[in-house]
């Protein structure tokens, strides 16, 4: 135990009086101030407290606009008149509820229910009774306001999307803030009932778009009418977000999908900037801005074609023959084949106890790499697949960014799947069967990718191997058009694939569109060089005796998905795109014309009929 020291205690005694006086004086000050508040100003405060008459009137900040790359407005605000009731002011005049009910044609019970639900909240807080009333109702209320204590009509900015469903997945929508979001954003001063971006750009750029809410502290009389203003904070409007998409191109793309479901992604292969992004069916984000009704919500959720899902980043489909690009690269890079390696295709390829078919029943005969890509010969790629092996293909697929998120600034992006031996062991606990390598080589089986991933894949091929993060936002500006933030292209690396391999593949892809038997001939435009690849993603495995021509007799949900990826112009690519038509059947028939329309619009070419008429397409069926 330590020895306690008793030296120099007199120091403490010396200072004791000062501390005593200090404590006494502070308490005297406290008491005097208390006296001032309770006696001197007591009657004034008592009056204020009896009427409970200090209120906060919120002023919601104008949310920033969303614009296309040329400055055209995709989302802005319109004034909306909303009716509020302050329970504290209306409770002394119970007849108010009845009057409001008749003026607004609102059932009395519904209003009472609303007030009951908010009972826990402070009584001086206004409760929203009805939003977005029309002009007639507004005039009626305003002229009667003097007889309606506690009623308050506020002008509130409400989100409006002038083009309706256009690019709705990309723009996203607003909704009332929920409890979790309130907790997460505690530092940002959101109020209960505030609107917040729930998806798309509206959600991811919330911080820029939101602005800062303001408001006024006012004194009201016994009828809830404003007497004087005690304090005021101006709201600060949010920033405008300028997107990389082009409204004209987006519109062409959406119109090209008329009557079809699926997704499209068009990007600038030299920057990764998204030029258009479509997901069909779509929805009208305006219905969320006014508060979606339970019936509307149910309908959206239960729609079998999932309109709320952004299929461009969330839809995962087998890439089908588009994947032959990857298989070809894997074959060339590993040395399993060289450009002149020939295989023989007689329409089927027996392997194990199964026979794997080529889409062309008659077979392609002796065929080398260029023609195998151009005519999309399955048998050729079965053999390339067997030579390279599953893990070799998987290695090159992930080099080309498949099986992982692209990192686009949209939430809930899906990764897709690139199977490998270790993946299958982990996922199913069983070893890889070599027969499955054949399916993988032609883009079927466990393989899955999103339309955005395939757009990025074709972009990488087009630009000579550079990988860009797909980008949606060009820049952020403030109200006065001053730059707040710029989003330069983000290059995350270069794929480790030789120039020569990429050149061979690119040339073959040009052949897909321009060679005599190319599967993408439907996209050929006069005097314009385009490169592409078609694909068909199987939804169900066809029975062995199934004839391809009978496809259209299948119910829609069993029909194959159609793919087309392309870039143009061939020499100096300015646009790379991927098109997916759900249950569209063959890539060549369903997806190619959409791509053609988009390329025509992008380069301002006159609309044309393809060099090869649809008649030829019907005769020969392409994969």
């Amino acid at each position: 135990m330590i020895e306690l020291n008793s030296q120099r205690l007199e120091d403490f005694k010396e200072r004791y009086p000062y501390f005593k006086i200090f404590a006494g004086v502070t308490f005297l000050l406290l008491f005097l101030h208390l006296w001032y508040l309770q006696v001197f100003k007591g009657s004034e405060f008592r009056r204020l407290s009896e009427t409970n008459c200090i209120r906060i009137r919120e002023q919601i900040a104008d949310r920033g606009m969303i614009l296309d790359r040329k400055g055209r407005i995709l989302a802005h605000n319109r004034p909306s008149f909303e009716v509020f009731l302050v329970p504290e002011d209306s409770k002394r005049n119970p007849e108010v509820l009845g009057k409001v009910s008749t003026l607004l044609h609102l059932p009395l019970e519904e209003m009472e229910e609303k007030l009951r639900r908010e009972k826990k909240r402070p009584a001086y807080r206004p409760i929203k009774i009805k939003s977005d009333i029309d002009w007639d109702q507004l005039c009626l209320l305003e002229s009667n306001l003097i007889h309606l204590p506690g009623l308050q009509v506020d002008v509130i900015p409400r989100r409006f999307y002038p083009y309706g469903t256009l690019a709705s997945h990309l723009i996203g929508y607003l909704g009332e803030i929920d409890e979790n979001e309130l907790k997460e954003r505690r530092d940002q001063k959101y109020r209960i009932g505030a609107f917040i971006g729930k998806s798309g750009v509206e959600s991811l750029w919330e911080r820029d778009l939101k602005g800062v809410d303001g408001g006024r502290q006012v004194e009201v009389d016994a009828l809830g009418r404003e007497i004087r203003q005690l304090g005021r904070i101006e709201s600060i409007p949010g920033h405008n977000v300028i997107l990389t998409i082009d409204l004209d191109l987006q519109r062409v793309a959406e119109e090209a999908f008329e009557g079809k479901n699926g997704a499209l992604v068009a990007m600038d292969p030299k920057t990764g900037k998204i030029l258009a992004m479509v997901s069909k069916p779509s929805f009208d984000p305006s219905i969320f801005a006014r508060g979606v009704s339970p019936a509307e919500w149910k309908e959206l959720l239960e729609d079998p074609f999932s309109p709320l899902q952004n299929k461009a980043i969330q839809g995962q489909y087998p890439p089908g023959s588009v994947f032959k690009i990857v298989t070809a690269i894997a074959g060339l890079e590993t040395g399993a084949i060289h450009p002149h390696t020939q295989f023989h295709c007689n329409g089927t390829f027996p392997y194990g106890n199964r026979s794997f078919r080529c889409w062309k029943e008659k077979g392609h005969g002796a065929i080398s790499l260029h023609r195998a890509l151009v005519e999309s010969c399955d048998v050729y790629f079965y053999q390339v697949g067997l030579k390279v092996g599953v893990d070799g293909i998987a290695y090159y697929a992930s080099k080309l960014e498949l099986g992982k998120k692209t990192g686009i600034s949209l939430s809930h992006e899906k990764t897709g799947t690139v199977p490998s031996t270790s993946w299958k062991k982990k996922r199913f606990g069983v070893p890889w069967y070599s027969g499955e390598t054949l399916s993988l080589a032609v883009g079927q089986g466990y393989l899955n990718s999103t339309p955005l991933q395939l757009a990025q894949l074709i972009s990488i091929i087009a630009n000579g191997g550079k990988i860009y993060v797909p980008q949606l936002v060009e820049r952020v500006e403030n109200l006065y058009g001053e730059l707040v933030r710029e989003c330069p292209p983000v290059e995350i690396g270069k794929v480790d694939i030789s120039e020569e391999t990429l050149r061979i593949v690119r040339e073959a892809l040009r052949g897909v569109v321009h060679d005599p038997h190319g599967t993408g001939a439907g996209c050929a435009l006069k005097g314009f060089q385009i490169a592409g690849k078609t694909g068909t993603a199987q939804v169900i495995r066809m029975p062995d005796d199934f004839k391809r021509g009978q496809l259209y007799r299948l119910p829609l949900k069993y029909r194959d998905h159609a793919w087309f990826v392309a870039f143009a112009p061939y020499e100096d690519p300015k646009i790379a795109l991927s098109v997916l038509v759900e249950h569209g059947g063959f890539g060549a028939v369903a997806a190619v014309p959409i791509a053609r329309k988009l390329i025509e619009a992008f380069f301002h070419l006159p609309p044309s009929t393809p060099e090869k008429g649809p008649k030829d397409l019907e005769e020969e069926e392409y994969d």
């Binding site: 135990m1 330590i2 306690l4 020291n5 008793s6 030296q7 120099r8 205690l9 120091d11 403490f12 005694k13 200072r15 004791y16 501390f19 005593k20 404590a23 006494g24 502070t26 308490f27 000050l29 406290l30 008491f31 101030h33 208390l34 006296w35 508040l37 309770q38 006696v39 100003k41 007591g42 009657s43 004034e44 405060f45 008592r46 204020l48 407290s49 009896e50 409970n52 200090i54 906060i56 919120e58 504290e88 909240r121 402070p122 009584a123 001086y124 907790k183 505690r186 530092d187 303001g214 408001g215 006024r216 502290q217 005690l230 304090g231 005021r232 904070i233």
Partner: protein
């Protein structure tokens, strides 16, 4: 260990003051937590339970010979520091701040107990007397470290109120133990120089936040609104108050956290100038008695220990009341024995226990 003489020197009247304040606190809490249906609110029941625990803890702190505190001063301090780090990593988040550690169904805030641990550690350090002129800055580097470590951790939680209390306790003790006059000047000079430098480094929104903190009226929709409502509550109480259970301001939800930070407004609204004067008088009795305990103590350790406890009670009382009346920035500092909160009640009871402890042993040894 427990000497019979201890009881003869026990200050029963002060215990009476403590019990009286606690009862007023319970009554006040009952008034605005009651729902008018006659059942007791869980908040009230929990506070009663904490009060029971608090009295036992006070007793225990008072009866353990304070020499033991000197022996274990540093280990206690570092255990609390460790708990603060633990809160940082695994604490329970309530209202956006990470302050609590959960033990079974009870959770407590180590930052509250840190106040006591800091007082003990500083008393241990300063028990070795300085030379005639006082402590030099170099000698003070270790105590500064004692302050800095918990303050940084507590600010991170974030809990500005408790951090401010730790700082105030620290500087009160510093003035009490005598610091060299030149060192004091230097310290003040450094402080004065740092303020404009720090200010220029702050971002615009941070400056704005500090300015509204110093003058809540700049933010009429946030702190300013609460402040004016608090003033309305206090002022409307008048001389005699609106009467028990008759207050309206706090019940209607005009005040945030009326059961902790703005408890005084609720008291003033219902009991008026008369009731508040009684409560303020009781606090003053407690504090002046505490100061007498300090100068009657027989050694440096117990003198500084009890002084730390008095300064803790004083600053809590003064800042809380001053804030409610609008004399001071709005900061979350609760009122001893009146505000709701278990950990805070425990640290208050420990502080009072320390005063009893030293007071009882002033004629021993």
């Amino acid at each position: 260990m427990i000497d019979r003489r201890l009881f003869t020197h026990f200050e029963w009247r002060i215990l009476g003051v403590v019990l009286l304040l606690s009862s007023i606190g319970l009554l006040n809490l009952y008034s605005f937590t009651s729902n008018g249906e006659g059942t007791l609110s869980p908040l009230f029941l929990k506070q009663m339970l904490w009060l029971g625990i608090g009295l036992v803890v006070m007793w225990a702190v008072a009866f353990i010979e304070y020499r033991y505190y000197a022996d274990f001063a540093y280990p206690i301090f570092f255990i609390l520091l460790f708990l603060l780090i633990l809160v940082f990593g695994f604490g329970v988040i309530t209202s956006g701040a990470r302050r609590w550690i959960r033990m079974g169904s009870f959770s407590f805030q180590p930052s509250e107990l840190m106040k006591i641990a800091l007082i003990i550690a500083l008393a241990k350090f300063y028990q070795r007397p300085p030379d005639r002129k006082g402590y030099s800055l170099k000698e003070l580097s270790l105590p500064f470290l004692f302050l800095l470590m918990p303050v940084i951790l507590i600010l991170k939680q974030p809990d500005l109120g408790t951090a401010i209390i730790l700082i105030l306790i620290f500087f009160s003790i510093l003035l009490f133990v005598k610091i060299r006059f030149s060192s004091l000047l230097l310290l003040m000079g450094i402080g004065a120089a740092l303020i404009p430098l720090g200010w220029s480094l702050l971002k615009e929104y941070q400056k704005k936040r500090i300015l509204t903190f110093l003058n809540p009226e700049l933010d009429p929709l946030g702190a300013g609104y609460h402040l004016i409502q608090s003033k309305v509550a206090i002022g409307s109480g008048g001389v005699l108050g609106k009467g028990f259970m008759k207050g309206t301001q706090c019940k209607l939800g005009f005040l945030p956290e009326p059961h902790t930070d703005f408890i005084f407004s609720a008291l003033a609204e219902e009991w008026g100038l008369v009731g508040c004067s009684v409560v303020m008088g009781l606090y003053l009795i407690l504090i002046l008695w505490g100061l007498r305990v300090v100068i009657q103590s027989k050694d440096r350790f117990s003198a500084i220990l009890s002084f730390g406890a008095v300064s803790m009670l004083f600053w809590h009382t003064f800042i809380n009341m001053g804030m409610a009346m609008g004399m001071m920035p709005v900061v979350g500092i609760p009122l001893p024995l009146l505000s709701y909160g278990g950990s805070f009640l425990l640290s208050t009871m420990m502080g009072i226990g320390i005063l009893f402890n030293v007071s009882m042993r002033r004629f021993l040894f």
